[in-house]
């Protein structure tokens, strides 16, 4: 068996459920590989370390991958994990916000400077939000909203933060990006560096195939899949993760190949709205398995 190291984008959560299913069901070993799962210290780490060959595979986001490519990091997207945006512009209910333009003149928070602030700006341009004040809230989303320091936050996942907020007794409402003019994109993808792809092509393909199988299993046996995940990640909060899983299920990838057109559209959008400054050729970025 060949060993692969996989770095997540964040600490383990239900978004990564198919990975744990593949691990627990033995799909990886069926394909002759052994996978070590590692948590990063920062979302950018996964891309850096994959590009430098210090990990074989990494979970990342399509927008950040495009940014990395424009910065000259050579990486390849090898498979999708979650195929639609989970990121939202989120706010509390009963704030009288019906349309994005209701946020004109308000304070809008965002989670990751350099990424979400640009997305927010694009969103505002497209949806005619005027004279808003952007505020970097980091990951203190709920306190910022509850204490009325901001009226909405760009960046929370509709499948995750909403559940946490509900647990604390707050109901979240949100605008889904792809419904409000931002091109659809693949939220979570697997990437790897060119060297790993060349040296371990067989093993990585095995990983993709195993994951494909896990996605099918997750779709067909959702309760068992969740149980497998919870036993693999004991520190997870059961009730919260269960609810989050219900919300995430529809977005898991159905096929193990990327939608090149979607990537192209988002890359064009990124260039147009200043997320990147140099054009990225998505064909070089996506690895297609034959």
């Amino acid at each position: 068996t060949e060993k692969l190291t996989l770095m997540l984008d964040w600490f383990p959560n239900v978004d990564h459920l198919p990975i744990y299913v593949a691990q627990e069901m033995g799909y990886f070993s069926d394909n002759g590989i052994e996978v070590e799962i590692i948590t990063p210290s920062d979302t950018a780490d996964a891309l850096k370390l994959a590009a430098s060959g210090n990990v074989d595979l990494a979970v990342s986001y399509q927008p950040q991958t495009i940014i990395a490519a424009s910065q000259g990091l050579s990486i390849k997207a090898v498979a999708p994990l979650v195929v639609h945006p989970l990121t939202t512009l989120l706010f509390l209910e009963n704030k009288g916000i019906k349309n994005p333009s209701d946020l004109s003149g308000k304070k809008i928070g965002y989670t990751v400077p350099g990424l979400m602030d640009v997305l927010l700006k694009a969103f505002a341009d497209i949806n005619h939000i005027k004279d808003y004040t952007p505020v970097n809230v980091g990951f203190t989303i709920l306190p910022a909203l509850v204490a009325n320091k901001v009226d909405a936050v760009m960046g929370p996942f509709k499948t995750y933060e909403t559940v946490g907020m509900a647990q604390q007794g707050y109901t979240a409402r949100f605008f889904e990006l792809e419904k409000w003019g931002i091109p659809d994109y693949e939220e979570l993808i697997f990437v790897c560096g060119p060297k790993a792809l060349a040296d371990k092509s067989q093993a990585i393909h095995g990983f993709v195939k195993a994951l494909d199988k896990a996605q099918v299993y997750t779709r067909d046996h959702s309760e068992k899949a969740l149980a497998l995940y919870l036993s693999a990640v004991p520190q997870a909060d059961k009730t919260m993760e269960t609810q989050a899983f219900e919300l995430t299920r529809p977005y898991f990838a159905a096929v193990s190949s990327h939608d090149v057109a979607k990537w192209k559209a988002f890359a064009d959008f990124a260039l147009a709205h200043g997320l990147i400054t140099t054009r990225v050729d998505v064909n070089n970025l996506i690895h297609l398995w034959k």
């Binding site: 210290s41 920062d42 210090n54």
Partner: protein
Amino acid sequence: MRPSNYLSPALVAVILVLWEGAVRLMEIPVFILPPPSTIVVTAVGRASLILPHAAITFAEIILGILLALGTAIPLATVMFAKPPLEKALSPFLVASQAIPVFALAPLLVVWLGYGIASKVFMAWIIIFFPITVSLLSGLKNCDPEYRVLFRLMGASFYDTFMLLYWPWALPQFFAGLRVGVSVATIGAVIGEWVGAQQGLGFLMIQSNARLQVDLVFAVILWLSAMGLVMWSLVGILEKKMIKWKPI
């Protein structure tokens, strides 16, 4: 017990009561600041979850402190013995304190992997600095009249160091060590941002992202307790080693 001895527990009680009262009266949500009662309940009730993580972190802290001692003492000695070296090295020492963990993390992963080494390294960077600076200052503080005495006796640097400089610098060394062991806790936690699978830092980040703020603070309570234990140990060690002081 003299009345003044009641002050310490009384003050602790007052602060805790004020905190509890403030949280309850001002209706501060638990996910912003849990009341101390909740924190204690969680810290004790979830001890079985916390303890295994605490063991890992404790090991990192101890290793970090040992490594810091093992580098700070020779470093301060060398910089004391050779002032040009001090001049040359201090910019790097000061600079080392300006590096945030996310800048260093990928490098640590590349060089030290995901094991305990990279966590200990982060802790080390944070701990060794106050010890080095304090020890160096203590060594420099040595009364020149005594130095002259040792020169008159024809003492080598080694002899002078062992018999004069080191005992002289001990009080300042311990002040540095006190700071060192106190920041060691956060040092290890920060270290655990570098690809940890366990440890209190790991547990905290996860709990925080899951909005289990009571658990976050319970972990902080455990960390503080660890810091306090080490702080007290340093105090005991100091008393043992500086017996000649009539304080």
